[in-house]
């Protein structure tokens, strides 16, 4: 379980997170909704210790990430997979090398086992026989899938998704949403999805945290969010749905 309590973070004079609080339950997908530039990606980096909060605590399985030293952070990161917004594939390596990099460094597996893991991970994300391709020859959707394959290579307990459907066409985005759901149902992974894509959010999310101006407006289930009487939440949901319906038609 992940407990995010009263998190504050600022860059220079700009406070991006101002007292964010919500919980992430095991084996569920928690979606963090909010406008672009609202600090959602920063929140993911705080969870995994890539950034340190100015105040507050983030407990992962009972331990506060903000107080961990580098050794403890390294150990923590084995529990996580992270799908970055642009996939962040290592562009000097092939797809297979990207996926196997952590396996070669952190396990004593033989080549045959590593090759099987690469094939399995690619098969799960719906890509086969692309191990030898370079990231530059992949489409946006394929990069996200390879990024996800890399994220699950070490069989993490948690996966963090940073805007997984941004920049993708609707069909490809739906494919990514399906994969996110399969991570939960097939692999039992707990996920945090940060997005401003309201349609995808409602497809993948079990619980939601709506952020606005760096604060938590509301947390709840899909039904609670959709039927919320909170003015700001309604405004955000309605405007986002309108925008997306316009794009889909």
């Amino acid at each position: 379980m992940i407990r995010i309590q009263n998190i504050w973070k600022k860059f220079g004079e700009n406070s991006v997170l101002r007292g964010i609080t919500f919980d992430v339950q095991d084996k569920q997908t928690t979606v963090v909704l909010g406008r672009s530039g609202g600090g959602k990606s920063v929140l993911l980096k705080l969870i995994i210790g890539l950034l340190k909060p100015d105040a507050g605590s983030i407990e992962v399985d009972g331990k506060d990430v903000a107080t961990m030293d580098y050794k403890e952070l390294r150990a923590l990161r084995f529990k996580f997979g992270f799908l970055f917004q642009g996939a962040a594939l290592f562009d000097s390596m092939t797809v297979g090398e990207n996926i196997s990099l952590a396996l070669r460094r952190h396990t004593g597996w033989k080549e045959k086992q590593i090759a099987e893991s690469i094939s399995y991970a690619l098969h799960i994300v719906g890509l086969d026989s692309v191990e030898h391709l370079m990231p530059s020859s992949l489409s946006g959707g394929m990069k996200k899938r390879v990024g996800l394959a890399r994220a699950i290579a070490l069989t993490p307990r948690y996966i963090l998704y940073d805007e997984p459907t941004t920049g993708l066409d609707m069909e490809t985005a739906d494919g990514i949403n399906l994969l996110i759901n399969e991570m939960r149902t097939i692999l039992g992974i707990t996920s945090i999805v940060v997005t401003h894509d309201i349609h995808s959010a409602f497809v993948v999310g079990d619980r939601f945290a709506v952020l606005e101006n760096g604060t938590t407006l509301m947390t709840g289930t899909r039904e609670e969010i959709q039927s919320s009487e909170h003015e700001e939440v309604r405004k955000y949901i309605n405007s986002s749905l309108k925008l997306q319906e316009g794009r889909r038609s």
């Binding site: 995994i48 390294r74 917004q85 952590a102």
Partner: protein, 210 residues
């Protein structure tokens, strides 16, 4: 090692050849008629080993190697590849920076040795073909002035220059901010700063070690 070392050999050889040739030609030009022509050989070997090849190699590689490292690491930073490495439980400094700095420390002296040899050969070609100095005179002058410490000093310079250029380049690239514009600024900053630092370091090493 291959990128910093092997791939830099052609440019170092090219620069070395012309440095040697111009040193010989300009030395011959400046000598009074009554000074033995063998002095040209002495001037070439002393200048090349002590100063010209270590400094010219460093200047050229500040651009080639320094800029490449900064651009590479800077691009990795702005595309979140460094964050991805950290998220995969890698120590990004050990993985990205240490090998590059070590390669600089090891390969710069090797490149300077290559450059020294080519520059001295180039000096002989310049002396014989352009300044019309007999090869035997050039070689006599070269032999009379050669001291092992001169070559070692150049190699020591190479070690320091290699460390300086690669570590400055890595620092600028690793901590880049501001997207592609930031990468461009960092790359330019690396080239300028390493060139200036090398010149100052050159003076300090000469003052301390000679």
């Amino acid at each position: 090692m291959v990128t910093i070392g092997n791939d830099s050999i052609p440019i170092v050889v090219f620069v070395g050849a012309f440095v040697g040739m111009v040193t010989a030609v300009q030395s011959a030009y400046q000598l009074y008629d009554w000074i033995p022509r063998a002095v040209v050989g002495s001037l070439v070997v002393k200048s090349v080993l002590l100063e010209l090849m270590p400094l010219m190699t460093a200047m050229v590689l500040a651009g080639k190697v320094g800029a490449t490292i900064t651009a590479e690491l800077g691009t990795m930073r702005v595309t979140e590849q460094i964050d991805a490495l950290e998220a995969l439980a890698f120590d990004s400094v050990s993985f990205l920076i240490t090998p590059r700095v070590l390669a600089g420390i090891l390969m710069f002296p090797v490149l300077i040795i290559f450059g020294d040899l080519v520059a001295i050969l180039g000096g002989m070609v310049g002396a014989v073909a352009v300044a019309k100095i007999p090869a035997t005179a050039f070689i006599t002058g070269m032999k009379s002035s050669f001291e092992t410490w001169d070559a070692v000093f150049g190699i020591i310079k190479g070690t320091f220059f290699g460390f300086t250029i690669t570590s400055v380049a890595c620092y600028h690239g690793y901590f880049v901010e501001g997207g592609s514009e930031g990468v461009g600024k960092a790359t330019m900053g690396t080239v300028v700063l390493t060139c200036l630092t090398v010149v100052v370091l050159d003076f300090i090493l000469a003052s301390v070690l000679l």
